[in-house]
């Protein structure tokens, strides 16, 4: 029974960790993202469009973002490069919190630091520009990143440097991030931008949420299967227990009655027995799940999420306790088990002692 509880709890823990992680990722997105399209592919966007969009009522701010990926061939890793200009506000709190970046330097996350260390880049890194020449950027001290994805691959540097590496022209940007003050207006404003700039792709945060949820639901289908199987097993155990006592247990109750125990006494003893067994297995199960998920980092079960480049390449589970799940499992296991011990004993205990012993 503890094993069942452990299995259930750990699947719950992992799926909850996934959910909180993608919520964390979604929080860093702006309300509306505008990208330019050329031949149905993403292309760079003109920064001067900002003023056109700012004139729409209800828009709070528009930022031209410069960001992209850079392949670090030595360790087959993809770095996420984000440009930041001083005194601009970004939707991503990690980027927003960075106050100053020294000229020609970058801030890197833990994962990037480790990858660079392996190739002996500890002071600076040479980015290969699109024309084949090198751009040397020194590494500024201090690790950044709050989501797992960011901790793994984030690099932040000034917009000018990044434009040079990506070979952008002066007023080119990757996309425009629009923030809207009143959330009721987001869809309406997105529609307005779409009519204003028909060849651009306008993506609303809610669309992204749906996309993430779809990926997540696909994975959680597996958890549902585990959930159903464990429940089925659990109820088979319960059914077996509730359907009647074997002759040895019947004899036990019979002897107790013969030496003068009343029905109440027998039920009391059985109540304590059930309570102790179920509580003990519940606690053992929960602590097994805790060690499995948070100490051992969920081997095997975690593999389900690997290779899922849409969400995260590798993820270690952030600690979060979901009391609702714990309470749900408690209510499903402990009272039912107790009931399953008491009811058949009560049936036997109400009979006469000699009838039971016969």
């Amino acid at each position: 029974m503890s094993l069942l509880v452990a299995l259930l709890t750990s699947t719950f823990f992992i799926s909850n960790a996934m959910k909180s992680e993608y919520n964390l990722i979604l929080d860093t997105y702006p309300d509306i993202i505008i990208t330019n399209q050329k031949a149905m592919r993403d292309s760079t966007i003109d920064e001067n469009l900002i003023d056109t969009i700012l004139n729409i009522k209800g828009v709070r701010s528009v930022v031209a973002r410069v960001w992209g990926e850079y392949e670090f061939t030595q360790s087959e890793k993809k770095f996420m490069l984000i440009g930041k200009e001083e005194f601009e506000s970004y939707s991503n709190p990690t980027i927003n919190a960075i106050s100053t970046i020294a000229p020609d330097s970058m801030l890197i996350s833990v994962g990037v630091y480790e990858a660079l260390q392996k190739s002996y880049y500890s002071e600076y890194f040479n980015f290969i520009k699109s024309d084949g020449s090198l751009k040397k950027i020194s590494i500024q001290k201090g690790a950044i990143g709050s989501t797992i994805q960011e901790k793994e691959s984030l690099i932040v540097m000034s917009k000018e440097n990044l434009k040079e590496i990506f070979n952008y022209k002066n007023d080119e940007a990757t996309d425009l991030a629009v923030s809207v003050a009143n959330e009721n207006e987001v869809a309406f404003i997105a529609g307005k931008i779409n009519t204003l700039l028909p060849n651009m792709r306008v993506v609303v945060k809610d669309d992204l949420r749906v996309k993430y949820e779809n990926i997540y639901n696909l994975r959680s289908g597996f958890f549902l299967t585990i959930f159903i199987i464990t429940f089925f097993t659990f109820f088979i155990i319960i059914y077996d227990k509730a359907s009647g006592l074997n002759s040895e247990q019947k004899h036990e109750i019979g002897i107790l009655k013969a030496i003068g125990w009343r029905v109440g006494d027998v039920l009391n003893a059985k109540l304590y027995e059930g309570l102790i067994i179920s509580l003990f297995s519940y606690i053992v199960g929960i602590s097994m799940a805790f060690t499995y998920v948070y100490v051992l980092d969920a081997p095997l079960l975690k593999k389900i999420f690997l290779n899922n480049y849409d969400l995260m390449s590798d993820f270690s589970i952030n600690f979060s306790v979901d009391y609702e799940t714990l309470a749900l499992l408690f209510l499903l296991s402990v009272p039912i088990y107790i009931a399953a011990t008491i009811i058949p004993s009560w049936r036997v205990a109400t009979l006469e002692a000699d009838e039971v012993m016969r």
């Binding site: 900002i50 700012l54 209800g58 828009v59 528009v62 005194f87 009143n182 009721n184 309406f188």
Partner: protein, 220 residues
């Protein structure tokens, strides 16, 4: 010839430091927030009121003695922010926030699910009442006009707190509040009119034009 050159030079220097022509929307959404960030991080002890004109102020900012050297874009943002926002004593109202326990004074509804619709009336005797929309607020206002100091509503587009007496309200639009049909508040007539066009509004009214009959008829 020399005079010509000199006048050209003067003209040039005038345009360099003259107050730039930028639309109010762009100033509000891009330039002032950037200026505020620069002001807070670089020169929070700047005395704005000692300058008589925008030219004078922007020259000082551009020189970089007071706030460090800034790019043209940043120094323009800072000087515009200082001149337009910091110089005038614009009254800034508090954000209208409510707790989970707060209920609307008129209809008794919990308000924390609809923070964008919260309105507030303050009285001179230190009494404050919160409402879950303009409709409830006006119902209360028509019965308790004595001793009001401030009536605060939130601009629909920016969610900034504004005084209801300066606001414009759109009636009959397709945007509903927590209590159904609403008067939607805006900080200026221009945004109220643009909202009214986009969301099928029927009327744009100032505070004084709103009657008790109108408010009651919205509830039906």
């Amino acid at each position: 010839m020399l005079l010509n050159k000199l006048s050209l030079l003067i003209l040039l220097s005038l345009t360099l430091f003259a107050y730039p022509e930028i639309s109010q929307d762009i100033k509000d959404k891009k330039i002032y927030p950037m200026g505020e960030k620069i002001y807070k991080s670089r020169c929070s002890s700047f005395d704005v009121n000692s300058y008589k004109s925008y030219d004078e102020l922007s020259k000082i900012v551009k020189d970089g003695n007071k706030c460090g050297s800034l790019s043209t874009k940043h120094s323009q943002a800072l000087s515009l922010y200082l001149w337009d926002v910091k110089r005038e004593d614009v009254k800034v109202y508090e954000k209208l926030s409510v707790t989970k326990k707060d209920k609307c004074q008129v209809c008794g509804m919990h308000m924390h699910h609809y923070p964008n619709w919260v309105t507030r009336i303050k009285y001179a005797k230190d009494e404050t009442y919160n409402f879950d929309g303009m409709k409830c607020m006006f119902k209360f206002y028509f019965n308790n006009k004595e001793g009001i100091t401030d009536i605060l509503v939130q601009d629909y587009y920016t969610l900034k707190t504004i005084n209801a007496k300066d606001a414009y309200f759109v009636v009959g639009s397709d945007v509903y509040g927590p209590m159904g049909h609403e008067l939607i508040p805006f900080k200026d007539k221009k945004s109220a009119k643009s909202f009214s066009l986009e969301h099928k509004g029927k009327q744009v009214l100032s505070f004084d034009e709103i009657t008790e009959y109108l408010v009651r008829s919205l509830g039906r």
